[in-house]
């Protein structure tokens, strides 16, 4: 898929995000909007996924296909939209987000057997450990495919992240690409004020990781270039960390650059204003 088409998918994903969150008047639009381009780039370009007749086929073990884990599970709207738009489950199911007796739980879960999800996440700090286990399983199975995992920058405050950060280089997990969404915001305010992560690049380098940075994490061309570069470094004995600078709320002007839209739903007027800024490219659900 070409850059222009990927951008069109990302625009639709952004519409889906704000509509989902508006539909149930809860959920996390800010981080979801910020990561829309990254997830679209991964699912529609970068990852090698099992498909039949142009449709993705999901099984839990995911042998010989790339895998994605979302550790910061609260940005479920972006993942649900990308999975639905890719064809993992019906697009209209997005209307059930966060509602009773549905598969699109507030945070992602395997419990309701939603295609595309391999682990529950939401309680932060656990996803990278799981991704490392999945990457080790691939090595044990002589499976050459790649495991991807996304974490938040606020999430770096969890201790388990650093247990995993120590584990990965020690065990030479070089079939894994991890991302940190550097949007600089968390629920209580800017990350530098709540609990300063200081220099995450130096920290991961000191832990033994290969660290890359994508400065323009909401620019599709920059993302594809960075992802291509990350992929080229696989298989050299070191885990790969990509710092992705994104804008929280990117794509909706009044949601951008503030923690206030971390976990707040738009009202009817705000929804209309947001949708006015996002082109409908694949048809709303």
């Amino acid at each position: 898929m070409e850059i222009e088409q990927l951008e069109k998918v990302a625009s639709q994903v952004r519409r889906d995000i704000v509509r989902m969150v508006h539909g149930c008047q809860s959920g996390h639009p800010g981080g979801s909007l910020g990561c829309a381009d990254l997830l679209v780039a991964l699912y529609f370009k970068q990852m090698k996924l099992k498909e039949e007749d142009g449709k993705p086929v999901f099984d839990m073990d995911g042998k010989n296909e790339d895998m994605f884990f979302l550790s910061n599970g609260h940005i479920s709207p972006v993942w649900y939209s990308v999975l639905a738009r890719k064809g993992y489950f019906p697009v209209p199911e997005m209307a059930t987000f966060r509602k009773l007796n549905t598969r699109l739980q507030g945070h992602p879960t395997t419990h309701e057997h939603l295609e595309g999800i391999r682990i529950a996440s939401g309680s932060l700090g656990q996803g990278m450990s799981v991704a490392l286990g999945a990457a080790k399983a691939k090595k044990l199975n002589n499976d050459p495919s790649t495991v991807y995992v996304l974490m938040g920058d606020g999430e770096q405050q969890e201790g388990q992240v650093w247990e995993a950060a120590m584990f990965a280089p020690h065990h030479k997990v070089d079939n894994l690409i991890a991302f940190i969404d550097l949007n600089g915001q968390q629920i209580d305010g800017p990350t530098v004020e709540v609990m300063n992560n200081l220099d995450l690049v130096k920290k991961y380098e000191a832990f033994g990781w290969e660290v890359l940075t994508i400065e323009e994490g909401n620019d599709m061309a920059a993302l594809l270039k960075g992802l291509y570069e990350a992929k080229s470094r696989l298989g050299h004995g070191r885990p790969i960390m990509v710092m992705v600078h994104t804008g929280m709320g990117f794509g909706v002007d009044f949601m951008m650059g503030t923690h206030k839209w971390h976990g707040t739903a738009p009202n009817d007027d705000q929804l209309a204003a947001a949708l006015g800024q996002l082109e409908e490219t694949m048809g709303d659900y």
Binding site: I119, A137, N141, G159, E163, A164
Partner: protein, 317 residues
Amino acid sequence: MKKYTFTEKKDTRSGFGAGMHELGKSNPNVVALCADLVGSLKLDPFIKENPDRFIQCGISEANMIGVSAGLTIGGKIPFATTFANFATGRVYDQIRQSVAYSGKNVKICASHAGLTLGEDGATHQILEDIGMMKMLPGMTVINPCDYNQTKAATIAIADYEGPVYLRFGRPVIPVFTDADQKFEIGKAWMVNEGTDVTIIATGHMVWEAIQAGETLAAEGINAEIINIHTIKPLDDEAILKSIAKTRCVVTAEEHNRIGGLGDSVAQLIVKHDLVPQEYIAVDDSFGESGTPAQLMEKYGLSAVNIVEAAKKVMSRK
């Protein structure tokens, strides 16, 4: 009273190590993980023969649980091992979200459970682990009673699909169950049939219950002794059948009286067939340093305590 004899004493953790050794040969999907306690968990024979299927996690239990959950994605059967304290309370949320709620086929194998860890003291003597683990939906909780049963349980859980908490310990105790036993998850073992009182015991307390049964028999009291090695799912049928006959029950466990086997039995009988019950368990306290024997005596977990409880519960009929 059926006679139980033994020719040797062994620790249940060595039964686990022996089970792992056998699984290393028989099941290529079994992977062992440990958080810097390989010697304590008796994993050396497994590691020696299967170095590629052992993952040393260092002193990072939370990460070990997550890595284990990830290994199941791809068909591996991870056995995550450490002391019971660090395998449960320290990583409760990791087990809850990444293992239990996610429905992952992880075997959490925990040594040094209970008071009988001994001299290390209360920081390491967890008495709440059964309660924590049995509260997790979908979690199977197993506490075998001797070396042979622990070995059999270890092998059996590899063939069972779903999360399991396997609890065992450090002290050497009599080996009195069959070496070639078949371990059935969720199936109670009738140690001795009796008519006057039901004694339900798990883990190290089963041998104490047998000794108590002999003392009671000498006094003309015919105790029915049941080994509940699987605390969840509980063998409701075996317990209800027994109390229908004896009309009273003593439960015995090396665990806090709150939230353990005793409470599982109480919940069952309150709902189906109310009979008097006495608990042999630690009375809502932490442990302390001491030899295992001293601690079992001080905290009321010896055969003599079971004898007293049996007489008391019979008087309440």
